[in-house]
């Protein structure tokens, strides 16, 4: 209640409606855009500094970054490139929506890795058991459902722990990632392993009526999961902004005390939100296995669960934002090979770019969090409760 914030108050009232609407529209996009542009700039400087290492280029060749980014765009701007973009973006969008939903509820879900793997195992379990006897019309929905449910169960556990004992989800989800990596290893080398194989490996989903049908006629792997990811965006948006459950989730995230006072069962919401978040990550795992990877070895793992955090942050926890963030990171992956071939810049550059984007985003998240701390030094909420809100930028 300090007068400090109040003195700026009439500011907003004085602005014309048009300016206000324009600012309101630009403001949420501005920050991710700046993060992306800065990352591209840092990446360009890095490429130029190291250009001497690329055959045929002198040291400090300022032309190389331009050539590299040009090749990256070229790699995407073809029918095949667009298909690959969508294929790469699909798990990022699905898992990104899961992480974003957690942010909205004030939960920092770092368990995407484990939830993704459990989703993959769930889908593979259905493929292995039901796949030989049933048609794909039955196997595919069942496998997707199993992936979703396995993922949801993997999310339920940290949610339940938090609701009942207060164990912080950041800690439990990270620890559970190790558990689920091991469970995956065990499942694939044990119950899901092909009998009589030389090395432990699962069946190929294409032989078990569980491969997702290809819906895009050009490029590779343009599978049905893409449609699922694109449909999940409006579904999650509707859930968050047009249902009472979404209202409860957002309220519990923005102010758990007020949510409790408003009659919401915040512990139940924590469990439910973590389960839905796990479900989305599980779907990401299931579609990846059924649409792209097809066969799992015991050491199977991806970085999707962590990339999803970048996607959720870049998308400011808004489902539409997550869609664009997922597409952007997907496009960077899709163009990386072309960049390596045409410009000689290693494809891993896109990992670096993604990391730099994350750094710039996190700087802003921290700044917002510190600002809020400075504004209300008396707040009793822990960093874990505040940080996701700051991540989302609701302040």
């Amino acid at each position: 209640m300090s007068g400090a914030d109040k003195s700026h108050l009439p500011e907003a009232r004085g602005q014309s409606a048009i300016v206000r609407v324009a600012l309101a529209a630009a403001q949420p996009i501005a920050e991710p855009l700046v993060a992306i542009l800065l990352a591209l700039l840092v990446g360009a400087i890095g490429i130029a500094l190291l250009s001497g290492l690329v055959p045929g280029h002198s040291a400090l060749d300022v032309g190389l970054p331009i050539a590299a980014y040009g090749a990256l765009v070229q790699g995407v701007a073809t029918p095949n490139g667009i298909t690959s973009t969508l294929v790469y973006a699909t798990p990022l969008i699905l898992a990104g929506l899961g992480v974003a939903l957690g942010f909205k509820a004030g939960l920092f879900n770092i368990g995407g890795r484990g939830q993704f793997l459990m989703g993959a195992v769930g889908a593979m379990t259905v493929a292995t058991t039901v796949g030989t006897s049933q048609s794909s019309y039955i196997v595919i929905p069942l496998a997707l459902l199993a992936g979703a449910l396995f993922g949801a169960a993997a999310g339920f556990i940290p949610g339940f722990l938090k609701a009942t004992s207060g164990a912080h989800e950041v800690v439990t989800t990270i620890m559970l990632n190790y558990v689920f990596v091991s469970v995956t290893y065990w499942a694939i080398s044990g119950p899901l392993a092909l009998p009589n194989a030389h090395q432990p490996i699962t069946a190929d989903v294409t032989t078990r009526n569980a491969a997702l049908p290809i819906i895009i006629p050009f490029g590779h792997d343009g599978h049905l999961g893409i449609l699922l990811a694109l449909l999940a965006v409006p579904v999650l948006w509707f859930l968050l902004y047009r249902t009472t459950l979404g209202f409860e989730i957002r309220a519990a995230g923005a102010n758990p005390d007020a949510a409790r006072y408003g009659g919401m069962k915040t512990n139940r919401l924590i469990v439910l939100t973590m389960s839905i978040a796990g479900l989305m990550c599980g779907l990401a795992g299931a579609t990846t296995i059924m649409g792209v990877v097809h066969q799992m070895e015991p050491g199977y793992d991806t970085t999707v669960g962590f990339d999803a955090i970048t996607v959720a942050l870049l998308g400011r926890s808004n489902p539409v934002g997550v869609l664009f963030a997922g597409l952007l990171l997907g496009a960077m992956r899709a163009g990386a090979q072309t960049m390596q071939i045409q410009a000689g810049v290693p494809a891993e550059l896109v990992d670096a770019l993604q990391a730099i984007i994350l750094v710039f985003l996190v700087i802003n998240v921290l700044r917002r969090w510190l600002d809020r701390r400075a504004a209300n030094p008396g707040t009793r909420s822990s960093a874990g409760v505040d940080a996701p809100q700051a991540a989302e930028g609701v302040a």
Partner: protein, 522 residues
């Protein structure tokens, strides 16, 4: 002091024609303010009037678009807070900037350490100087106590000590009494007078009229970024100050009229409540409230009122006892079931419990009813019904907001509270529980909310009013219950109760002790 202040010729500090514009608004419009040596100068204005902006200019936190600042007659530029401190201008913020795990002395020297050599802080010298300062101004502070273990009032004294340690000649206090109990307020006033007597100049920012009249030598009233007038306490009244501050005539006393009391609505029998650390802070409260009456609970903050209210509303589990609402046993009901049983609740901390600041106004107006028709059908929200109802409530409760979609954090404190009041009052209620309903609000908003409470009472609602402002309890209540260490030690008639009697009961619980009695009467 007043005579001293008048005698000294050149002002210690002078602000001339200070103008500060923010896009779309002039926060300070050619404000002139002079500060004499040894004077307590009150800056009075509603929230958002521009008091804080002006002090931010003085403290170097905001750069004025126009105007000059003179110190001892010489024009100065203040580049930032460190510059201000170097010139002897210090500010005590409403929210303290202290490190709880450090001692008083360590906090005081933080940023202005006395070094014994290039590396080590000279703790002895620091401790000695702080001890001397504290003694000189009659601070009751142990330099070696950990700040985290101090009361709010003591922490504030540490902040003031910090300013004195930096040899502040001009001390700005931003609503220093907002967080203090009446006793602590008296103590801080005494301290301010001693500082002024020492030749220091004090700017006292407040919107509480009686405080300003009590402590200030001069009062400058600001409204909408302009200086509206200057008064001396001896030449003005609360009524005039309120009118200057708000810009219209304000009723300072509530016309509570006749109450038409009917049968009991809330019956509380032996309710026991524990705090977060499992200490039983309410060891058995028994009282009843009848339809159409206001029961005021008076008590020094921390005597179990918060816990009692939280238990009644279902936010806290009671450990024993029985609560009956209109003949129905509601013991242990959840907040939602209490809400559905016809109980309205205005929480004491509106920013923590009452509102989700990040949410738009219309979402806050349905915080307790979002799941019910017409606002939702099953799982699906009905946004048009929500917005329609919000528009009507904004109109009816005079909530000043650019639109129903504006974020609640952009509203002033008074308007935020009106959002809570609109949500809780705007339906038929059996019982209304009000915890500090006007804390930190300006007089205009207080007047509005008091009228709404009376209207609710006259409509037959039983009202429980908990307030740390004894004046509010005295003015509003039909009956007054005094709470002391978790027990209701007395019940008095609101129209005949004597303020000093209630104050005494608050301080002692009825067990008179000569020393405390003196304190209360002082």
């Amino acid at each position: 002091m007043t005579e001293d202040a008048a005698r000294s010729e050149a002002p210690a500090l002078e602000m001339r024609g200070i103008t500060k514009r923010y896009p779309g608004v002039v926060a300070n419009d050619h404000i002139d303010l002079d500060l004499r040596r040894g004077e307590i100068h009150a800056l009075l204005g509603e929230n958002g009037a521009g008091k804080t902006t002006l002090m931010n200019v003085l403290y170097g936190l905001a750069r004025p678009d126009e105007g000059t600042i003179l110190m001892d007659g010489k024009q100065i530029q203040i580049a930032g807070p460190s510059d201000a401190i170097a010139r002897g201008i210090s500010m005590v913020h409403q929210h303290f900037m202290l490190v709880p795990v450090l001692s008083v002395a360590e906090n005081v020297i933080l940023g202005a350490e006395t070094m014994s050599n290039a590396v080590f802080v000279d703790r002895h010298e620091a401790s000695r100087r702080i001890g001397a300062l504290a003694e000189r101004f009659g601070f009751d502070l142990n330099p070696d106590a950990k700040v985290g273990s101090l009361s709010v009032g003591q922490q504030q004294r540490v902040e003031i000590l910090k300013a004195l340690y930096r040899d502040a000649r001009v001390l700005v206090l931003d609503e220093p009494t907002a967080v203090l109990t009446p006793n602590e307020t008296e103590e801080i006033f005494g301290l301010l007078r001693r500082l002024a007597g020492d030749g220091r100049s004090i700017v006292f920012i407040s919107h509480k009229l009686y405080e300003v009249l009590e402590v200030a030598d001069r009062i400058t009233i600001i409204r909408r970024g302009r200086v509206i007038g200057e008064r001396r306490p001896s030449e003005t009244t609360e009524g005039e100050l309120a009118e200057l501050m708000v810009g219209r005539e304000v009723e300072l006393t509530v016309d509570r009229g006749e109450s038409h009391v009917a049968g009991p609505v809330l019956v509380v029998e032996g309710l026991r409540v524990a705090d977060d650390r499992h200490h039983e802070v309410v060891p058995g409260a028994t009282f009843e409230i009848r339809a159409g009456e206001i029961l005021g609970v008076a008590g020094v903050a921390g005597n179990g009122q918060d816990e009692l209210v939280q238990a009644l509303i279902g936010l806290r589990r009671s450990t024993g006892g029985k609560v009956t609402l209109a003949g129905r046993d509601v013991t242990g009901f959840s907040p939602r079931r209490m809400n559905e049983a016809g109980v309205g609740y205005v929480p004491g901390d509106r920013q923590r419990f009452g509102l989700i600041l990040a949410f738009p106004v219309y979402d806050n107006l349905i915080l307790t009813s979002y799941y019910r028709p017409p606002f939702a059908h099953g799982l699906i929200r009905n946004d048009s019904a929500i917005l329609e109802s919000a528009a009507a409530q904004i109109e009816r409760f005079d909530i000043r907001t650019p639109s129903a979609r504006a974020s609640s954090s952009t509203l002033s404190g008074g308007n935020q509270q009106k959002v809570v009041v609109a949500r809780e009052f705007d339906r038929e209620l059996k019982l209304l529980i009000l915890d500090q309903p006007t804390r930190g609000l300006d007089v205009g908003s207080i007047e509005f909310i008091h009228r709404q409470i009376i209207a609710k009472r006259d409509a037959g609602t039983a009202v429980l009013l908990v307030s740390a402002e004894l004046d509010e309890v005295m003015e509003m209540s039909d009956r007054i219950a005094v709470m002391y260490r978790g027990r209701i030690v007395a019940e008095l008639d609101g129209r005949t109760a004597d303020k000093s009697e209630v104050g005494l009961l608050m301080a002692t619980g009825g067990h008179e002790q000569a020393t405390t009695q003196e304190e209360v009467r002082a």
